[in-house]
Symmetry: C2
Subunit: 320 residues, 2 copies
């Protein structure tokens, strides 16, 4: 962990004052170094009270996605253990792709307070206001044939589903990768894959999750289509805690994907989505499918009973 | 075309002397500019004869893959029309991927005289001595679902096959992507793909083609497994002409791939390879397939009659 995280750890473990000298001794650095770090932390938004004979006390933690804050909630082996924090970035996915190309290992994450050009599926934009939501990209390096990778699409949805449910919300999954609350989008995911023909080089899983965004902060054209934790509950959520929980859930499903196979992930998604028997309409580039859903196959394709024939749909927008 | 190419064009069109003044007038630049360009071209290996009252005459062209030299042989609409030349590079594929990520358009190529870390399939190295062979990478942006992309594998092989056949050699295709002369590798290709789950962002097709490499220039461990145009014919080939012909062939097959579909490419490959009825052995990570080839299916997978069952093999090494 970063030195900042260690110092904060010392202060957080005690609800009382902690002397600079004891922190210095504990971490094996000089008192001057501690003082400098505290000044730096103040500039980052932390608030400390200092009493001459007693030492320091942590009074306030900023609402930022600092790695050491997320780390407090992490229960993972790999995911999020190397976490790059950026204030503003074009797209966390693009940053993560660059890191992956230069060799960064599986589990490396990029989190940002805002995105200038957040990317959604099918070349859409992802609305990314500052400091309110979660914009997160994760590098994965699954040893799998490229033709078997599609079910990875369901992992962010499953992980977000569990994160929402644990927060008291009632999410619904929409094929292929949407998570909705009362028909409004609370989450988007964009998976980008770099392969050779026979081998996956890396995958970047990008997740945008609307946490504390308020209705007034949403662009007009999508205002009635989007929601957030806050909009649903009127409560403010700790984004660092949500991020930690999400990464924990992601790792759990990723381990199932790798250990038990893509088929199991497809069944888990199908079960949570409860789509079987529902009428669905799928719009694709050139045609519209309408029929009764009969589940998804082991490749992640949607099986749709259209009139008398069973159609296999591999991508597109879906209207239920 | 680059100014260097234009000046060389003026000199090449005439077997006699051409005055600097007439080149300057033709191209609408100053005589000093022409003189400077000629000096630059001399530094690049061109040789000119200058006679005071007559002007310049082109005496010699260096054995380099300069874009304007390759351009003379190009008959393409898109492929190779934007050609980046580099003397030495880690890997032309890696360079092309960077260009593609920053938005370079379909058809953009990178050619190099040598590669410091030439990449082959399955994380192997590609032997890349200086100035002897062709190391070429091409950016493609096919509008196709990622699950349909595998047959693109056959396009470099088909294009190289035709290029070799037109040069008087007798190539043989080996599944999935090898081109052999008398059982020795003359060409390697590595296709790298960047996708979202539902959309191909870009493809980089990398081709290493052994042209004038001599046996003594080949690393010991692969010496009996590799060959070149020169080793087969004892003749020196113009690499620029070979590169132009290869790009022409690539574009032709790529247009078939896009216009007539992946199935047609699979049939063309199958026909050229003549594999049907041949006994084949395919080694994969965990098992070995042995059987009689019954062609390849529309996904590019090899169909193998193993005992009584028809097995579908999607990648791996193949031993005939």
């Amino acid at each position: 962990m970063d030195r900042s995280g260690e110092i904060l750890g010392c202060l957080r473990n005690e609800s009382r004052y902690v002397s600079g000298a004891s922190i210095a001794t504990y971490l094996g650095v000089s008192r001057t170094a501690i003082w400098k770090h505290l000044k730096q932390l103040e500039q980052m938004g932390y608030m400390f009270e200092q009493r001459k004979s007693l030492g320091y006390r942590l009074l306030g933690t900023p609402d930022k996605l600092y790695p050491w804050e997320i780390d407090r909630y992490l229960d993972t082996k790999v995911l999020g253990r190397n976490l790059h924090y950026v204030d503003s970035v074009d797209s966390t996915n693009t940053s993560a792709i660059k890191l992956a190309m230069s060799g960064d290992e599986e589990g490396t994450c990029v989190v940002a307070e805002s995105q200038g050009a957040g990317k959604g599926r099918l070349q859409r934009r992802w609305h990314s206001p500052y400091g309110k939501n979660l914009y997160l990209s994760i590098i994965l390096r699954p040893v799998i044939h490229p033709s078997k990778i599609y079910p990875l699409t369901f992992i962010p949805s499953l992980a977000v589903y569990d994160t929402l449910a644990a927060s008291g919300l009632e999410p619904r999954l929409k094929w292929p990768n949407d998570v909705l609350i009362k028909n409004r989008k609370i989450c988007g995911s964009l998976i980008e894959v770099s392969t050779e023909m026979d081998r996956v080089r890396f995958v970047v899983v990008g997740i945008g999750l609307n946490v504390n965004m308020e209705e007034k902060e949403i662009d007009g054209e999508i205002r009635d289509k989007a929601t957030s934790f806050f909009m649903e509950t009127k409560k403010h959520f700790e984004r660092t805690a949500v991020c930690g929980m999400l990464l924990n859930n992601l790792e759990r499903y990723y381990e199932i994907f790798r250990g038990q196979g893509t088929e199991v992930i497809c069944r888990l998604w199908e079960e949570r989505a409860g789509i079987n028997g529902a009428f669905m309409e799928i719009r694709q580039f050139d045609r519209v499918y309408r029929g009764i859903a009969e589940g998804i196959d082991s490749d992640g394709a949607l099986l749709l009973r259209e009139n008398d024939s069973l159609v296999r749909v591999i991508a597109g927008d879906v209207t239920v």
